[in-house]
């Protein structure tokens, strides 16, 4: 008989757990919508089309890493024939000058922690931190 209260309490707990994201969104005042990414102003096109970059930039970056680190090939020719220097800090961050407002916005939004920055540095952040 008294087990029914335990079962009811468990059901309430189950309901709260299942709908937790909804309550959290209410409490935190979340709004639907994507991240606010700052795109570079001086350049119009990236090394690959935007659709590819949006979904698969990590493939390109990892192939760049392997070309440089394992094969010592420091240039990369885009499908449109342009030759780029393979460098995360030098080429990518030349246009996307602000890592915090470009890379991190999407990565934080999607809950992704890439390990690029375990080794690489963000030159702008270092420059800012110098007195």
């Amino acid at each position: 008989m008294r087990d029914r209260y335990v079962i009811l309490a468990a059901l309430v707990l189950f309901f709260v757990l299942v709908t937790a994201p909804v309550w959290y969104a209410r409490a935190a005042g979340e709004k639907a919508g994507g991240p606010d990414v700052k795109l570079p102003t001086q350049e119009k096109a990236c090394v690959m089309p935007v659709d590819y970059m949006r979904t698969s930039h990590m493939d390109l970056l990892i192939s760049w890493r392997e070309r440089v680190v394992r094969e010592n090939i420091r240039t990369w020719t885009a499908p449109d024939g342009t030759v780029y220097t393979v460098s995360l800090s030098g080429t990518c961050l030349k246009c996307h000058t602000n890592k915090a407002e470009f890379c991190d916005r999407c990565h934080d939004y999607a809950g992704v922690t890439p390990y690029c920055w375990d080794c690489h540095v963000d030159p702008a952040a270092i420059a800012r931190s110098r007195p």
């Binding site: 309901f15 994201p21 939004y109 809950g111």
Partner: protein, 349 residues
């Protein structure tokens, strides 16, 4: 046949979801209506099922003990396998829910490969009549337990990792789980251990039903359906993570739209994601009406959650009605003169 039919059923679901994700007018149906309805069916259906169980009378205890019950002080009692306290029951339930204790005891019956020797007694002390026959033996069967454990725990981790899509900003502990899960940093995006474990466990659980003729004979349509559904769900997720890249940011916009009740279906969400979303919706909606409801049922198994106090305490059925009895004393009073006349002894002279 069962295996084939359920494969066809899941394939139809996948095809439907793909069409739903490709046709512009159906995208909001499959991206918003179907998942919302599925969650509603899941919650209400499960609550209804558990309520029905809670209202079912359990008039006596069925402890199905696997250990010595508590009796005399000099007989060692097993407080977990045959609990008589609330703490013992809690530990037994925890072992059952978290480690699948009863599945760990799984055995498999098989005939011995070699006949019992014709002459003399064999090592097992077989009776003479059994000589020359093969013997039925029971062996331990731990693979099912291992695969079940790998599947359930991996599924939980995967479920928790998905919180990054419905919570903004993603909680730090979810990031921590993902970091541990992707500890080996294989490839980009990093390979999750749980993805590999899930597919391996599901593969084993399916092959187990397909390969062994006896288990195949016992397998029903719904056994295969649940497995194919899960394989489709996990498979589409794994494909999206490692092979066909979807627009993750757009997917999170869709998910956040659902939890904030401001649904949107961004144009860049690929039909592939709709397959994943529809399969998980089907899984949720199917849950309360299928064997998958053991998620809730395990907590209410009378053989696990009742203490073995059948002899220690008097359990009176709460809805016993007053039974009209005729005691010996009343009977003696009724026939006193006749008993006396016959010269029979009386309790009360």
């Amino acid at each position: 046949m069962n295996a084939l039919l359920s494969l066809v059923a899941v394939s139809i679901l996948v095809a439907l979801a793909w069409v739903g994700g490709s046709v512009a007018s159906l995208r909001s149906v499959f991206g918003i209506v179907v998942p919302a309805a599925a969650v509603a069916i899941f919650v209400v259906g499960l609550a209804a099922r558990v309520t029905r169980w809670a209202l079912t009378p359990v008039p006596f205890r069925i402890p199905t003990t696997c250990g010595q019950q508590r009796t005399l002080p000099w007989i060692k009692a097993s407080w977990i396998e045959s609990p008589w306290t609330r703490a013992g029951v809690v530990v037994r339930m925890a072992l059952e829910v978290l480690l699948f204790r009863s599945l760990f005891r799984n055995t498999q019956a098989a005939m011995t490969a070699e006949p019992i020797p014709a002459a003399g007694q064999d090592a097992h002390g077989a009776a003479p009549a059994a000589r020359g026959l093969r013997r039925l033996v029971y062996g331990e069967e731990k693979w099912l337990w291992l695969a079940a454990l790998a599947f359930h725990w991996s599924f939980l981790v995967v479920l928790l990792r998905h919180l990054r899509f419905v919570v903004e900003p993603p909680p730090a502990w979810v990031d921590a789980i993902a970091a541990v899960d992707g500890f080996f940093q294989v490839g980009v995006p990093v390979l999750y251990m749980t993805d590999v474990l899930l597919l391996a466990a599901l593969g084993y659980l399916l092959l187990r039903r397909l390969v062994d003729a006896r288990i195949r004979y016992l397998s029903l349509l719904q056994d295969y359906f649940a497995l194919y559904l899960l394989i489709g769900l996990v498979g589409s997720g794994v494909l999206m993570r490692y092979f066909v890249r979807p627009d993750v940011v757009a997917i999170k916009e869709l998910a956040l739209g659902l939890v904030t009740f401001a649904p949107v279906v961004p144009a860049t969400v690929s039909p592939f994601f709709f397959v994943h979303l529809t399969l998980v919706s089907v899984l949720l909606a199917y849950f309360p009406f299928s064997k998958l409801v053991h998620m809730a049922g395990v907590f209410l198994s009378p053989t696990r959650n009742l203490a073995n106090t059948n002899r220690m305490r008097r359990h009176v059925n709460p809805w016993n009605y007053p039974v009209k009895v005729h005691t010996y004393e009343e009977w003696e009073d009724e026939f006193r003169d006749k008993i006396k006349a016959a010269g029979l002894p009386l309790e009360k002279a």
